[in-house]
């Protein structure tokens, strides 16, 4: 195999079988991952799954119990946080309360013995980068939550690290500001091209911002993929239900011809899929369940509407979101309702509870699980 350096980005962080135990509690069970130079990488998972632990191991605040961490090709064992090419934006921001904004941002340049004038220039540049020009003389206590977050970011960026580590940096902000910062942070990362590793428990945030996401459960990486791949091809039920909404239906695998898999899906009926559609790690015969996203099922409101396959169901509840309506529909032959999302259009009213609707779907949109 030949290495094509133009299309394969260089790796900046290599995690090899990284384990971490605190006494009897094992926070990380063997993490393997490669983080690429210049990418926006997210560690996504529910609270307590070990995201912060992994970030702190990379930052150098803790040493792994076993396994190795390489940053920029150098093993990090025994190298403390103050000598690693990483900088962290803390969840609490950790703004030094007795220092001004400029002193906070320039804090890490002082031990580098940089001349005062140069520090001032660097601080100015960093503050401009995070849109805080002119705030240098403010005290730390005169800042809003969003501004504190920007100061923490500027303080990290001014160090020109190889990797910026962010531990739930937006979780303390209100929804509007958080959404705005998600876009800004992503744009900033793309313009400066530094690798960002973001820890978050918010799947939407991870999806919006990241190039790639490692979904973590209980100290394992369950799946490491691009946002689209995670959404379209989740490898397990757990990943599928953590990323967005997924309807699950029981299915039984039937023997079929060469390269094909015949499935009998509850409420949807029989389909035949190419074996290539079966995800790696699942043997075709062991498929017991399929998943289908709410937007992959379509309510066929007009008799003239048609779809690849059609089934029927009864509306049990609706949620109106303005742009979208979420229908809860019990399909014929199913026990539990499925969720179907429909974009609202000008001429169409929301179907009432109890209405009988035709539902269209396609074999391509279903995901298989063992």
């Amino acid at each position: 195999m030949t290495m094509d350096t133009t299309t394969t980005p260089r790796s900046i962080i290599e995690l090899k079988d990284v384990r971490k135990s605190y006494g009897k509690v094992t926070a990380l069970h063997g993490i393997d991952a490669t983080i690429r130079e210049g990418e926006f990488f997210s560690l996504l998972g529910p609270s307590g799954c070990g995201k912060t632990t992994l970030l702190r191991l990379i930052a150098g605040f803790d040493e792994p119990t076993s396994g190795s961490i390489e940053i920029d090709g150098k093993p990090m064992a025994g190298i403390s946080a103050n000598r690693r090419p990483t900088n962290m934006v803390f969840q609490s921001y950790a703004i030094f309360p007795h220092l001004s904004v400029a002193e906070n941002v320039g804090y890490g340049l002082v031990p580098k013995r940089m001349p005062k004038a140069e520090i001032a220039a660097e601080v100015d540049k960093a503050l401009r980068m995070v849109d805080l020009s002119g705030y240098g003389d403010r005290g730390a206590h005169e800042l809003s939550g969003g501004q504190r977050q920007r100061v923490a970011l500027a303080r990290a960026l001014v160090m020109r690290p190889k990797v910026v580590l962010l531990d739930e940096p937006l979780s303390a902000l209100d929804k509007k500001l958080r959404e705005q910062m998600q876009v800004e942070l992503r744009a900033l990362q793309q313009s400066i091209g530094i690798t960002f590793i973001l820890v978050t428990h918010d799947q939407e945030e991870a999806m919006i911002m990241s190039d790639r996401i490692a979904v973590m459960f209980d100290g394992h990486i369950a799946q490491l993929d691009s946002p689209q791949a995670l959404y379209r091809h989740p490898v397990s039920e757990r990943v599928a239900s953590f990323i967005g909404v997924m309807n699950f239906l029981p299915a039984t695998a039937k023997a079929a011809g060469e390269g094909e898999l015949a499935l009998d899906i509850a409420a949807l009926g029989a389909v035949t899929l190419p074996v290539a559609a079966v995800p790696e790690g699942i043997s075709p015969a062991k498929v017991t369940k399929i998943g289908v996203r709410p937007e992959m099922l379509t309510v066929l409101f007009d008799d003239s509407d048609h779809a690849e396959r059609v089934t029927e169901g009864v509306v049990v509840s609706t949620s109106y979101y303005g742009d979208m309506t979420y229908y809860s529909i019990v399909l014929d032959g199913a026990e539990k309702p499925v969720t179907i999302s429909m974009r609202n259009t000008a001429g169409r009213a929301v179907a009432p509870v109890g209405a009988r609707l035709r539902i269209g779907w396609g074999a391509e949109s279903i995901v298989l699980f063992s």
Binding site: N82, M88, F90, Q91, S92, A94, H98, V110, D167, H201
Partner: protein
């Protein structure tokens, strides 16, 4: 219910006034007689004089007692604040076995009668053959001052957000640099407050100083020795007045620093905390 609440405030008010009188009347009498021209401590007042303060100025033995007290006070303040800071830091940062028990033992001198502490120390020192001097007094004072130092410094260290230290370290600063640039400035008001309060305690302390002192006496012991001479009483009143003013000044300054510390770190209370993730 309503009747009780109608009567209670009155009784509470009366009690409070009586309490304040009892507590502060002697304190008010001190400066009153210090400036009174009669050698007899009794009403009616006979006239205004600053003679007793002049007498103080001219008493050589008093000067050496003041020097001794300042030496003991300053040394005690520095030592107990240093040790208190170490203990407070350990309590805030580290988990260790039987932490509560150890903390309880360290804080015990706070509730032990000083006479017990004084006698016990004396017995031990005599048994060990340690000669009594100002240093033995300092030892006793450090023992009773440490709990106060810990109590004051504990709040300063406990409210010090650990992520501040980590952030400093993360930004390339060394352990020592982090201590100098982050920890020290943030706990400084607490340290000053502790220095002032332990100094004041040592300055006023009589019983332990009385038991443990050698030939050099501290100010309170000197005052006690002068009480035998009725003619010296007014000048003792004058001395008491000066010490009272000084103590009040020191305690107010200490409280001011303590509050400033709380205010500084209060910022971090508002900082977003993370119960999520």
């Amino acid at each position: 219910m309503s009747r009780i609440s109608r009567i209670l405030p009155n009784w509470l008010g009366i009690y409070a006034v009586a309490f304040m009188l009892f507590l502060y009347a002697p304190v008010v009498l001190l400066p009153l007689f210090a400036f009174n021209s009669s050698t007899i401590i009794a009403f009616p007042l006979t006239g205004y004089t600053t003679e007793w303060f002049t007498v103080l100025w001219e008493t050589e033995a008093l000067h050496s007692a003041v020097r001794n007290s300042l030496f003991v006070g300053i040394t005690t303040a520095v030592l107990s604040t240093l040790l208190g800071a170490c203990a407070a830091r350990a309590m805030a940062r580290y988990r260790f076995p039987v932490k509560r028990g150890i903390v309880g033992l360290v804080m015990l001198p706070l509730v032990l009668p000083e006479i017990i502490v004084g006698v016990a120390l004396l017995v031990v020192l005599v048994q060990l053959g340690v000669p009594l001097s100002l240093w033995t007094v300092i030892g006793g004072h450090v023992l009773i001052c440490i709990p106060f130092a810990i109590a004051i410094l504990n709040s300063a260290f406990a409210s010090l957000d650990q992520s501040l230290e980590e952030a400093s370290f993360d930004l390339g600063e060394s352990r020592w640099g982090t201590f100098r640039r982050i920890i020290l400035p943030l706990v400084m008001p607490g340290v000053i407050s502790s220095l002032l309060i332990t100094f004041t305690i040592s300055l006023d302390e009589f019983i332990i100083a009385f038991f443990l002192t050698g030939t050099d006496v501290t100010l309170p012991v000197y005052i006690w020795s002068q009480l035998r001479f009725p003619a010296k009483l007014p000048s003792i009143m004058a001395l008491g007045t000066i010490m009272l003013a000084l103590s009040v000044l020191l305690l107010i300054t200490a409280e001011w620093f303590r509050r400033r510390a709380a205010r500084r770190q209060g910022l971090d209370v508002q900082a977003p905390g993370g119960f999520v993730g």
